[in-house]
């Protein structure tokens, strides 16, 4: 099939843009739900970069790394949402600046 291939640089630029949006979200938002959503966006951007690299060399390794990122994201979100419930119970608030006792 003589198809037009997508330039891999453009996919990597898209992944970088999505990663930066997620990173900005982590830095800017103070609601813990939004911080976790931004973390998901960042992990998804990493997965996009892996799949793009795997497609560039026509190998399955990129998709396999994406699946490991998927498993990591699922594990992270399960534990983190348990922490959200704990935060809501202790402080009746979802602002992460409240839980700053380790600052000293």
């Amino acid at each position: 099939m003589t198809a037009i291939t997508i330039p891999v640089e453009h996919v990597l630029v898209l992944a970088a843009v999505l990663f930066l949006i997620g990173f900005t979200g982590v830095l800017v938002r103070r609601n813990i739900i939004f911080v976790l959503i931004s973390l998901e966006i960042m992990m998804n951007a990493c997965g996009l970069a892996f799949v793009a690299a795997g497609a560039r060399w026509a190998e399955a390794d990129g998709q396999i790394m994406f699946m490991f990122i998927l498993a990591l994201a699922a594990a992270e979100v399960a534990v983190a949402l348990g922490l959200v419930l704990q935060l809501h119970r202790r402080f009746d608030n979802l602002d992460i600046d409240i839980a700053s006792e380790l600052n000293g």
Partner: protein
């Protein structure tokens, strides 16, 4: 079949992700997050990774976002009211997600109706992925299983205490 499909899906992904980060309401942000994940699934499909695209829809948009929604609904339980539900059904709330998903839907219609060559570039199918996954990456699969088991135990531990002693205030 054109490479422009990739740029359309990428633009939808960036717009939806920006809207995710800037929303004030968590439910609205999750709707836009689903759109962002769907557009990235379209990009995976165009890149010749149909299995990754299916996993993106099933696991990310189907499982992880629903987990988020469960927690958001759980925390909102005491404050929910009919008036707020009615406000959420105003056209201003759902017109943005509908426009963005319509773009992806039209793209899907175009891809399906344009024939068999549905992928730009070279395709790495599920068979190759599965063979590599359970061949040379078998150890990593088992490590991922251990990680998921640890996450299961951790989530159970954190969530169970929430149910047991929500009345008293234990400081541990």
């Amino acid at each position: 079949m054109d490479v422009i499909l990739f740029y359309i899906a990428g633009a939808v992904a960036v717009i939806a992700t920006l809207l995710v980060v800037t929303r004030l309401n968590a439910s609205h942000a999750l709707i836009y997050l689903v759109i962002s994940l769907l557009s990235i699934a379209v990009i995976f499909f165009l890149l010749g990774a149909p299995f990754a695209a299916a996993l993106e829809v099933v696991v990310y948009a189907g499982a992880i976002v629903v987990l988020f929604l469960f927690v958001v609904m759980m925390l909102n339980l005491g404050r929910s009211s009919i008036a707020r539900e009615r406000r959420w059904l105003q056209p201003g709330m759902w017109i943005g997600p509908v426009i963005l998903t319509s773009i992806l839907f039209l793209e899907m219609i175009f891809v399906i109706s344009s024939g068999v060559g549905t992928t730009l570039g070279e395709q790495v199918g599920p068979k190759a992925v599965g063979r590599a996954l359970f061949g040379q990456y078998l150890l990593a699969v088992e490590l991922a299983a251990i990680l998921l088991l640890a996450a299961l135990v951790g989530a159970y531990h954190l969530g169970r205490r929430y149910l047991r002693d929500r009345r008293e205030e234990p400081m541990l």
